[in-house]
Symmetry: C2
Subunit: 224 residues, 2 copies
DNA sequence: TAGATTGTTAATCGATTAACAATC
DNA sequence: TAGATTGTTAATCGATTAACAATC
């Protein structure tokens, strides 16, 4: 849909990615999944991992994994596998996500609280720096390391903390209006936990979490 | 990875799916996503929807959508689009998920409570019929329409209610042991909200929810 | 009719897989 | 050496896209 601006947009050599060139959608998605497994494997004290083990956890074919990785360099050791720690760093470099990213969380209900007190985002370099709610009864409350603020402060915080990502754990009915305010405040990525179909301008990406979709899919292959 | 047992496993005619034949992985995944948007569109009172509108919400190319659907019949009306209600039913038929499916939910913390009180599963024909926790302080508590039971009752409930799907909203440290018990009790699909890497036999499917992976992916395309 | 949108074709590109030499 | 696993090739299959006739 969108292309690299300027430099180096000629056809890429097959099987070899030029630095500075945008990855294919599929490759980027798969690398993100490898990263998740690697980070968890590292947590468990694993030092090396084979393409086959990665395949078992990600449901991606092991040849595909080796192929994806070998496009960027020879990261593995034959007969041994990949060093977990170094592969984490390599993939982070490829995905340009080595740094920390600040995110804002909306909704201090059960879901918002669950997100704020878990480390699912922190493990991947995302830091929840602010939490908002519209309920004055919740504003000021401390949840994990954060103090709940009122939505009216959102623009200020987004500017100050340089926030690009917003996570929405609010009721469906409130989601579109909040999305409009966020777009207006300069947020570029909205992670939507409600089931609302959000309308946003083309430069903003909405990702809607749909556990039921994943379940339907898994169930289909169980039923057939 | 697995194939249809018995009947009708010859090569499929391109662009035409024989009933009783297993869908390609990609088609099944995409149909599930169309379904989610359709169900939400129906909720909003929309009667027809075009392939272009579906494309905007699912990020799947509109030609691809028309192609996917036309493989099963002529569901649309030229110049008008697809009837939302009838397309929901058609896709449900194709995915064999027209009926109700019972699921069991584990963990009565913030996340478990959020899931139990939301309708994200109910809208798609999944009914949470039981909720479990290991904390005796929570057992007996009423959450939404459910009363929390102790994990020791899981086998009994799974047998009685014919449960194939378990949703895990428990701490990572507890996930593997619980997964083992569930596999033993006959559960076939485990939806894992913890970040643990679960080991299960090949006949069981684990789906691990990874919001951070989705964020990393979205962020990559924002950063480049 | 005029406008919109489906259904379908054809051409291209990326994903998948088996196989195996290279090498740790 | 023997065993394991990577890196890479080649062949096949499915996804993507543009284009457009059919038709509501």
């Amino acid at each position: 849909m969108s292309y690299t601006v300027g430099t180096d947009a000629e056809t890429a050599q097959p099987g070899f990615e030029k630095p500075g060139e945008k990855l294919a959608l599929g490759v980027a998605a798969r690398l993100s999944r490898y990263l998740q497994v690697l980070i968890q494997a590292r947590k468990m004290g694993k030092e090396t991992i084979s393409s086959q083990e990665l395949a078992d956890y990600t449901h991606v074919n092991s040849t595909q994994i080796r192929r994806d990785l070998s496009g960027f360099g020879k990261f593995g050791k034959r007969g041994v596998g990949y060093n977990v720690e170094s592969l984490v760093n390599q993939i982070r470099k490829i995905l340009h996500t080595s740094g920390q990213h600040n995110i804002a969380l909306f909704g201090a209900g059960h879901l918002g609280t669950a997100i704020a007190t878990s480390d699912i985002f922190a493990d991947h370099g995302f830091r929840v720096v602010a939490m908002f709610d519209v309920d004055q009864g919740k504003v000021g409350e401390r949840i994990g390391p954060l103090q709940v603020r009122h939505n009216t402060e959102l623009r200020e915080v987004i500017d100050e903390e340089d926030i690009v990502v917003a996570v929405l754990a609010v009721p469906s009915a409130a989601a579109q209006q909040l999305a409009d305010e966020l777009v207006d405040a300069g947020v570029k990525i909205i992670f939507n936990y409600s089931d609302a179909l959000l309308q946003v301008p083309p430069e903003v990406t909405v990702h809607t979490s749909s556990p039921a979709v994943d379940l339907l899919y898994a169930l289909y292959f169980y039923l057939t």
